[in-house]
Symmetry: C2
Subunit: 232 residues, 2 copies
């Protein structure tokens, strides 16, 4: 769900004659990157932590060169930062980065929702809203978080732009890394639960202007909250 989707247009089914289709088997480097992405999203690797090539290579049973390739990929996604000759570290949040991230989100999310989208894409937004409601009644704090990410991902997906989708996926991965479970409590979620509902309703009724305004207001307020949480 969190991974980029640009090249994943491979079919995963089986053809009519019974012969297996060519399943796309990820390269070792890709699997290493995926594993690291998982550990980052899960909070096992915290911002600022140092990743030593040799250690990870041994832990995962792969070559050092392969680990380097994975590092390069994650660095290009801003999840890791390279300090030349010093090592790679889990990305940390510098002052101003919060505003930076939200600037990107405002640009692509608002632009996407203002342009509307096909009924199927709008239905996907609705589905994310309902997913959030279900997680709420189930008291599934974990599920609430991912439902929200699905919601905002679905909004960008309205634009049907592969490039915007991958950009958004990367931004969401960054946010998972920075604003981890610890920083968000249940009281935090209740706000946008009905706000997402409003945005989705406006979108469904074709009032794109209002949907965009609501979304923009939400993003501005969310930035405020995150800024106060993350010191100053």
């Amino acid at each position: 769900m969190a991974s980029a989707d640009q090249e994943s247009s491979e079919r995963t089914g089986i053809d009519g004659a019974g012969a297996r289709m060519r399943l796309r088997v990820p390269s070792v480097a890709e699997r290493v990157a995926e594993e690291l992405r998982y550990q980052l999203a899960e909070g096992f690797l915290v911002p600022g932590a140092k990743l030593t090539e040799a250690t990870i290579a041994e832990d995962l049973g792969v070559s050092r060169n392969t680990v380097r390739e994975a590092f390069a990929e994650l660095a290009s996604e801003r999840l890791l930062v390279r300090h030349p000759n010093r090592g790679v570290y889990v990305a940390t949040l510098e002052a101003g980065d919060i505003h930076d991230v939200y600037t990107v989100r405002r640009a692509i999310e608002v632009s996407s929702i203002r342009a509307g989208g096909s009924p199927e894409r709008i239905a996907a937004v609705r589905a994310a809203v309902e997913e959030g409601k279900r997680a709420a009644v189930a008291n599934d704090n974990e599920g609430l978080g991912s439902a929200n990410q699905h919601f905002h991902g679905a909004i960008v997906a309205l634009a049907e732009s592969g490039r915007l989708n991958t950009i958004m996926a990367q931004v969401l991965a960054e946010m998972r890394l920075y604003f981890h479970k610890a920083t968000m409590n249940a009281h935090f979620y209740s706000d946008w639960l009905k706000e997402n509902e409003q945005i989705c309703s406006a979108l469904e009724s074709g009032d794109l202007e209002r949907a965009g305004d609501l979304l923009l207001a939400y993003l501005n307020r969310s930035e405020q909250q995150q800024a106060t949480i993350h010191g100053e």
Copy 2:
């Protein structure tokens, strides 16, 4: 100019005591990537061309592994595409990619200009406009193209967002690759020369609404033109 600027905050001066500051010397892989980027922008490597690891490694006098690292970086910027076990190729323009690229541009450029910017950033936009005028009177077709890219880059720079800047830099690199000199003639430029002037004036006068509308109109028309040029 075209390269990413996220990490280039190293100082390039010399300190007062006369001791040399630590100049950031790019790694070999970075220089290989830079060389390939140059050849791509210059049109020496055309879309669809195949890049063989061993050949390039020998040509540039570096190791195959280093070439692979450079390939990975350029692939993450969408300038190259990897076909697993088959090789890397210069990215080609699929149907719908034009719309995709312009969707990204509309999102980040319009959003940036609508938010305005500091006087210095606005002055940079003005500088790009003047740069275009000078190139026009000098009949410098080459200079006209880069002036236009500087103009749109300066617009995104209004937002003061490092992430948006790198995204825009990548998009511009893609456009340099696809819409090469051959596809644009002098008659093509004359249009937006005064259009950039109008946009810049509106920006300087604080009429952000109008500036955004003009920019949006330009992007829509430009997409139309590129679509008709590139088949269809």
